[in-house]
């Protein structure tokens, strides 16, 4: 058992703080509390460390890697939604100009292709044009099979079964309390059916990699959210050919968007390495836009029947939902969490089934299942509020509760004030002109807690005062690199630009998380702090030796190292570092979870939306969103604000525009491009006010929580409630296209 020490910290959030005392291992720092006295973290806007590289085009993404003598690869994919694959004849393709290798995907002959876009073969050639030409010459025999393209066609009696076990899974149920009693106790009951669409991730950098072999060692520059997991998986894929983890390297210095769709080596990534091995030359294999749309991930559609029961005063007594999730031809999907976690209710039951269709499989998409469930519960709550003749904000405020680390009542109240809810709210359907405004609100929850033991960070402190922190994590554009520098700089009292951050390379050999689940910051930040804190203590020992005092008498701030007991004793950071001489200080830090009961309740938040509906054209315009979010302790302020705005914008685009359209005649995606698959642009971007709430939570030593996902969850729901408020009738499916708005109006007003 390690030696422990007692630490104290001021935790909680504005208006609800408390000083706690707890124990941490003797060599580790206590948690950053509200009383820490931050100079940089959450205080200053620090430019992104890689900002200049990004604005000058110097930043090299996987797609930009051009290796000497490199080949380009193109794919052959199945054009049919459902087909038995026969013989694959590559002989003509092999004779095409510039072609160096044509490879079938393993065991493809005889396989059943479950969607249009199924992988058949790949061609490597001198140029991408030659590779594409040759790919068209690969002759494939197909036997077309009947297909299903949406949940209704998949569930009809005549539907062909597209997988063993059928198209629909057994219902799975999550329960709390007694749902029947909950409805018996209810004085008011409402019900409704809500639908959310399929969104494709549409990362601007498509999926893929450059693969290169040298002396039996493999390097891939892979557009991935997890350098370690890719390197590991590549080693496994080629283990029978002598590759092991010491010889498998993945580099991702910059990455053009992932949003949950870029984990693992991918079959086509392994194919790139295979082609490189066969040809003895580096190979670039990046998906084209069509391929990326159909095979590289999507957010499952959902159809939710929701029934709520409440007392006349608005107190919820029962939440019931029966949900169909539609994840493509495989993969999982679940939407139940918002029904359970957003509001207090003693009796909850959610039943879910997956319905499989002939489409590419779902992948994690920014808070998997949560925006869908959020749309279901929040839209239903507004219908309940209407029936109760209650302000929907008041209804929500009545059904949330807080604690020292759970700030949702505070966040709702703060958001309502910032938004001006009282001034803006009118009863549903009050407005009657052509342009009708409406407001809505919704809450959010995400665990955001990080993985104890999930990261090892190395800190190197050199005699010239420079500092490096290193970890096998990667920066997807979240500002992770900058966040790490800020944590180190805050701890050492130096400027972030003096901290070098080494990430995005599996060969650093330091355990790091794949970036998903908003876990990167809460996993890596505490490990950075731990490593840097230990390095600092070692430096303090050198300084103490010089000043003939003890290390715990030394501190540092604003580039100065000083004695706490004798104000005459101080020296510049560089001067102190010079005491190290040749003995570079190298320390390792890990994420250690504090032993504090109740810590780590996750991150809540609340959002408020104002919309304007043109009742003649059916166009919905989002005017403003106020997003209030528990971010733990804000670290990289500018980058955190940007991520919040970005999450909200992805919510707006999901509410208004994005929708994968499947053709009922062919089973193919009709809009597998960025022309017909609509994504929000500058013209439709609303005013967004991000409000970060620091909730100091000893879940880890940096009070760090993840931020990528939680602010994306409630946006579409808040917009949906605002649209219902404007029209006086709900539109129960997103995206809110003009035809749906006009149909809802016609139904209501004739």
């Amino acid at each position: 058992m390690a030696e422990m020490k007692k630490v104290t910290a001021l935790v909680g959030y504005e208006g609800n703080t408390q000083t706690i005392e707890y124990e941490v291992p003797a060599g580790e720092p206590g948690v950053w509390g509200a009383d820490y006295g931050f100079d940089i973290a959450g205080v200053k806007d620090i430019p992104r460390l890689d900002a200049i590289d990004k604005v000058t085009g110097r930043a090299k993404y996987s797609y930009d890697i051009n290796r000497p003598n490199m080949l380009e690869a193109a794919l052959v994919t199945c054009p049919y939604a459902h087909a038995r694959i026969g013989k694959v004849d590559t002989s003509a393709a092999e004779k095409m100009p510039g072609v160096k290798a044509v490879e079938k995907f393993p065991n493809v002959e005889g396989q059943k292709a479950n969607y249009a876009g199924w992988l058949i073969a790949a061609v490597a050639a001198e140029t991408i044009q030659q590779a594409r030409d040759a790919a068209r010459q690969v002759k494939v025999e197909y036997k077309e099979l009947p297909f299903v393209y949406d949940y209704e066609s998949a569930m009809s009696e005549a539907a062909p079964s597209i997988r063993s076990g059928g198209n629909v899974t057994e219902a799975r149920s999550r329960d709390k309390g007694d749902i029947d009693r909950g409805f018996q106790e209810a004085e008011v009951i409402i019900e409704g059916e809500y639908e959310t669409q399929v969104q494709t991730h549409s990362c601007l950098e498509t999926h893929g990699c450059v693969a290169e072999w040298n002396n039996g060692e493999l390097t891939v520059w892979h557009s991935t959210q997890g350098v370690l997991s890719v390197a590991q998986a590549m080693a496994k894929a080629f283990s029978s050919e002598g590759l092991d983890e010491t010889k498998s390297r993945c580099i991702t210095q910059h990455m053009g968007g992932g949003f949950g769709s870029k984990f693992g080596p991918e079959e086509f990534g392994i194919m790139a390495a295979r082609l490189a091995k066969i040809t003895g030359r580096p190979v670039k294999l990046m998906l084209n836009r069509y391929e990326d749309s159909v095979m590289a991930g999507n957010k499952p559609a959902s159809r939710m029947y929701v029934k709520l029961g409440a007392k006349r005063d608005g107190t919820l007594t029962a939440i019931y939902a029966k949900c169909l999730n539609i994840p493509g031809h495989s993969g999982g999907a679940s939407v139940n969490v918002p029904f359970f976690e957003h509001y207090d209710c003693p009796n909850i039951k959610v039943e879910e089934q997956n319905v499989y269709i002939n489409a590419g499989n779902a992948r994690a998409f920014r808070a998997p299942g949560r925006p869908q469930g959020s749309f279901g519960i929040e839209m239903a709550l507004d219908e309940l509020a209407k029936k109760l003749d209650m302000d929907p904000y008041e209804l929500r405020a009545k059904n949330v509760s807080g604690s020292l680390y759970k700030a949702v009542p505070y966040e709702l109240k703060l958001g309502a004030e910032r938004f001006g809810w009282k001034e803006k709210y009118q009863k549903p359907g009050t407005q009657t002109g052509r342009f009708r405004r409406g407001v809505g609100c919704a809450v959010t929850f995400w665990a955001s807690t990080g993985s104890p033991g999930g990261a090892v960070v190395r800190c190197s402190l050199f005699s010239d005062g420079s500092v490096e922190v290193a970890n096998c994590s990667q920066d997807l554009g979240t500002g992770h690199r900058t966040m790490m520098a800020i944590v180190a700089a805050e701890e050492l009292g130096i400027s972030p630009e003096h901290v070098k951050v080494s990430i995005g390379d599996s060969s650093l050999g330091l355990k790091g998380p794949a970036s998903g689940g908003s876990t990167t910051t809460p996993t890596v930040a505490p490990a950075v702090r731990s490593a840097v804190y230990k390095a600092k203590q070692k430096l303090f020992e050198k300084v103490a030796e010089k000043w003939k005092t003890t290390a715990d008498d030394i501190d540092c701030q604003d580039g100065t190292v000083f004695s706490k007991s004798d104000s005459s004793r101080k020296m510049a950071w560089k001067e102190a570092a010079a005491l190290i001489r040749k003995d570079t200080i190298i320390t390792l830090g890990e994420h250690i979870r504090g032993e504090v009961p109740e810590a780590g309740t996750g991150a809540y938040g609340a959002q408020f939306a104002e919309v304007e509906v043109d009742t003649e054209t059916g166009k919905v315009r989002v005017i403003k969103i106020v997003a209030v979010q528990d971010v733990g302790k804000t670290i990289a302020k500018a980058q955190a604000e940007s991520q919040m705005c970005g999450a909200v914008i992805q919510g707006v685009t999901s509410a208004l525009l994005e929708d994968r359209i499947m053709d009922n005649m062919t089973g193919r995606q009709l809009n597998a491009n960025l022309e017909d698959y609509k994504i929000l642009t500058a013209m439709d971007t609303p005013e967004i006010e991000p409000v970060m709430v620091d909730v100091f939570d000893p879940i880890n030593n940096a009070s760090a929580k993840g931020l990528g996902e939680p602010p994306y969850i409630p946006t579409a729901a808040a917009i949906g409630c605002a649209v219902a408020n404007a029209l006086g009738t709900p539109v129960r499916r997103i995206p809110f296209t003009a035809d749906m708005i006009l149909a809802a109006l016609q139904k209501k007003e004739g």
Binding site: I52, V55, T56, E205, G257, G477, E675, M683, T685
Partner: protein, 211 residues
């Protein structure tokens, strides 16, 4: 018509026009373009017996960022492909490959253009500037500096395109209003959703220019 497409559409035989000609009929929410006059030009060029090149490689001379490049390319290769695959100029990004997203935006004789919509053979003799050619040595272009100062990027894959589009707006009007900037960047998509920060960059720049 957005600022964006002026450079490409008037040239007569861009891929975008060809695609439009065969007719998806769907126009993007952001980049609404007028097709007809240019199509007529294209038809006129065809009937006057233009030179037929290819399909094999042909020599081209390209002036990019002040450097003259002489090389052989297939006539079907886009400017974007030639820059990225043959010249290692990778600032302009390949994203949609059909003129929908703006990530490949460059300046052709000072006007913004989608380089995925231009064939390399058609921009010979023109002055092409990519995001790599915007800064003067270590001195960032004012638009680049404004992007850095307002953190107007996340993953950064769209950033070169946005920088080029906005640089064209401010070259035209150094005190461009936010509304003008929005029009000028309407043909660019940012998937991470950094529009709010890009607006801040535009406002900062307008103020720095005395606007």
């Amino acid at each position: 018509m957005s600022e964006h497409n002026v450079g490409t559409e008037k040239r007569g035989f861009s891929r975008r026009l060809f695609l439009k000609g065969v007719g998806s009929g769907v126009v993007s929410a952001s980049a609404v373009t007028t097709v007809l006059p240019a199509l007529e030009q294209s038809a006129a060029a065809a009937s006057s017996g233009s030179e037929v090149l290819g399909p094999g490689p042909v020599p081209v001379r390209l002036q990019i960022n002040g450097v003259e490049h002489s090389l052989e390319v297939e006539p079907r290769e886009t400017l974007l492909e030639v820059m990225r695959n043959r010249l290692d100029i990778t600032g302009p990004k390949l994203v949609c490959d059909m003129g929908s997203c703006g990530a490949c935006t460059v300046h052709v004789d000072g006007k913004p253009a989608y380089s995925c919509m231009l064939l390399a053979i058609q921009v010979q003799g023109k002055k092409i500037t990519t995001v790599e050619g915007l800064a003067q040595g270590d001195q960032l272009h004012p638009v680049q500096q404004a992007f850095v100062d307002t953190d107007a990027m996340q993953c950064g894959f769209c950033t070169p395109g946005f920088v080029m589009s906005m640089a064209a707006v401010f070259a035209h009007n150094p005190k461009a209003s936010l509304e003008e900037v929005k029009q000028g960047i309407a043909g660019n998509i940012c998937r991470c959703g950094t529009y709010s920060q890009i607006f801040e960059a535009a406002e900062l720049l307008r103020k720095r220019n005395g606007g």
